[in-house]
Amino acid sequence: MGVEGIGARVARKEDKRFITGRGRYVDDVKIVGLTHAHFIRSPHAHAKVKGIDASAAKDMPGVVDVLTAQQLVDDKIGNLICGWAVSSKDGTPMKMGAWPAMAPDTVRFVGQAVAVVIAETKNQAKDAAEAVVVTYEELPAVSSMTAALASGAPQLHPEAPGNVVYDWAIGDEKLTNDAFSKAANVVSLDLTNNRLVPNAMEPRAAVAEYDEAEEHFTLHTTSQNPHVARLVLSAFYNVAQEHKLRVIAPDVGGGFGSKIFIYPEEMVALWASKKVRRPVKWTGDRTEAFLTDAHGRDHISHAEMAFDANNKILGLRVKTHANFGAYMSLFSSSVPTYLYATLLSGQYNIPTIYAEVMGVYTNTTPVDAYRGAGRPEASYLVERLMETSARQLKVDPAELRRLNFVTQFPHQTPVIMAYDIGDFGASLDAALKAIDYAGFPARKAKAKAAGKLRGLGFSCYIEACGIAPSKAVGSLGAGVGLWESAEVRVNPVGTIEVLTGSHSHGQGHETTFAQLVADRLGISVDQVQIVHGDTDKVQFGMGTYGSRSAAVGMSAIFKAMEKVEAKAKKIAAHLLEASEGDIVIENGEFKVAGTDKAIALPMVALAAYTAHNLPDGMEPGLKEGAFYDPTNFTFPAGAYICEVEIDPGTGKTDIVDFVAVDDFGRLINPMIVEGQVHGGLAQGIGQAMLESAIYDDNGQPVTASFMDYAMPRADDVPSFRVSHTTTLCPGNPLGVKGCGEAGAIGSSPAVINAITDALGHNKIEMPATPGRVWEALQLQQAAE
């Protein structure tokens, strides 16, 4: 291993262009003849579209055309799809309401598009949009799940009676009920997992171009998975054929899941580029991002845990309502089911679990995967419940967890997941030591003397990453396989290009993936170029989400590298007149072990391409591809401890210490891993203390700008203390587990557990804003 190999803190190669303003994002794409799209969006949460009069707008300066929803219908453009089939417990399929890219007759959330203006400039498109007269007939709206499920509630979709998407369950109901009937103690908890807006720094954007002579489309778009975008756009929407569509996702400024999905705007831009015979650009603004990017979370749950007389968990019973918004987004069905309920066993031995999940339509922005996707909701429920249980059972919260930890691996949970490896006790021990748990009572007393309320909260989270074994997810209803692809091309001069199906939108793949190659060959990362994000350059790949790119994407590169190395060793052995088995690779050279005979990688590469002197029968060239399909999920886990101080005068909570001990398996680049953890923790703390997407009773968004929606800023988060314990993942050749979502999954329960500890009661919901904390303190004073 060289200094730039696996485990080295290599500075991010891509940052040079990002921090010098030379990144190339979709909005930077300039094409001759470019037109600009501006969408006309519903101001109502629920309404009939009675008519659209664009006659005046079409005559305005610079207007190329005004396209309406009816034209999509006339062109037989398909509705948006949900790619994961989930059935109700009675076996009936999920009830999918039709979602056209622009609404021809009914709008179901504020911001849904009904028409689009294409003009020479964005400003001209906006001017013309004001002249388009859309006549709506308002319908009563439901903005909360409670309202949507009430008898006589307004109905969103004829396909979904009662506004129910599905009524799904997992686990053994009878066994679980039996466990509760034998319980010495039962602890119950009601909780809300607040709705979040992803807010990637770069808003979504699309530049679409149609080549009439070639009947070929090119779409530049902000995607985490350009091949999946191409597949969906061609196979389901009838816009373009797969071999006649190139999707390019260049530099993308953050995704957090929200750029997995194929949205109406990107699809309409593509369609419109053929319609108006001009390239079309759409760049969303921040308001459009608030209104139309898929939101995250939004659960209401009731949970109960049964304990025996020795405080061992006997069973867990959960009933969750999950808000889907107005339509089923691309992977929305899987998030509150297979990505949520399968993690309800947490780090614990729970003999039986029964979880019911009801999906509900409301007149709000659709909800789908957002950093963690289901797993933050699971860890929030389990870890709030564990902390509440410890307090109710009067046991130390660390000890209650330790008593119930899974310690034998592999471990089959009652909810599908089979944990391969872990050492939960080791992470907890390290976290307790780091926070100085024994010293907490003294710190609490000191804070009290200063008029502050101090609290400490745990979160021992587990999540499932390395998404995912294709056969397993297929059996659960997934419409796609979740393997990854790679191709390693050694150029004739010995430099290397790696074409990966993963997509980097901030994760630093251009560095970490290069480190793998550098590690194996003993060369510099500068000799390695990572190519991604273009369906014309890269073979079909599944993209980046679910913390999968190290465990799945790099494993594919690993496999391709093994093939390249095997061929290169054959060539080197031939050139060195040695036995293939004696060749070792060191510092960029192929050496005959135990001798001073060696040949440098460039010479081997050159020999492969000149093909003047190759072993008999060998094909020229040095390029290999591989597909890697994981055999199991990976299970990153860790222990987070948060210590807070509340100012009782204002209700303001300061996080005075935050310790995160994660087990991500092998770390490729610890610096990048720490960055991922910091960002994840900030998002989890944001959910716990600041962020909340709120609608009024008529379905109007109250928090559609940063003036009302509180994103965490640098001074809202503490200086994190991050460390690692390590068990190597046995399921992939690198031993990696994934680190992209852990911080967001594990941190919010630690924060709320600390706040409830300081408050002395459990009556607070996320986000625990100063106003809410102060109200919670008044409740307590009233009770006293």
Partner: protein, 266 residues
Amino acid sequence: MYETTYHRPASIDEAAALFAKHPEAKYLAGGHTLIPVMKQRLAAPSDVIDLAKIKDLIGIEATSDALIIKAATTYYDITQSAAAKKAIPAIVHLTSVLGDPAVRYRGTVGGSIANNDPAADYPAAVLALNATIKTNKREIKGDDFFQGLFSTALEEDEIITSVSFPIPAKAGYAKMRHPASRFALTAVFVAQTKSGEVRVAATGASQSGVMRVPAIEAALKANWSAGALDGVKISADGLMGDIHGSAEYRANLIKVMAQRAVDAAG
């Protein structure tokens, strides 16, 4: 944004003349309110007259009686001013917790008080100190200047040229920041004038914008100490309540911020 014509006059008179010529014009100072609403197409001035580069509108000076801040002086310049720090440290503190660094580099005193956002910081200082607002036409006392939400005594074409803050015996400012906007969720400026008068102004709390708080003034007049406010009860009537804090919470904050402002004032 709709099309508009941008002007950068060199003098106050030139700015006023431009305004007279273009009835649909707007003055621009730091631009933190006007530019966003123009971008959202909620305002459509035919002409934008930028006051921020007029030399006569920039500068800080202190006399033995007053701190005079010219209207287009940026917050950043105020935080860096030795004269301001010496004259009224509470004003410098208020400025240092206003917005964020980007806001402080462009935002101006004149822009803040002319806009009179009900959660802005500067109206609290102007009202608590009964500052004198000088315009290109006249002088207006702080007591007469603020007239409810986003409304002031200014005429359409009037330009604030400077604000003169009388130097108090004691003054302090304490702010609970709005978690999202970083305006004041509620903030309180307390002042004891050299003649012994106590004036207290709260911003971010009332449905009608910045306001005096007589109950706190009375208690502090009797006893200038944070503890003197322990028993004061602030009514929630007429206070704002929203997703970030109920009216009762804001009522509590008026008292708590006043106590902390008194502590800061010494």
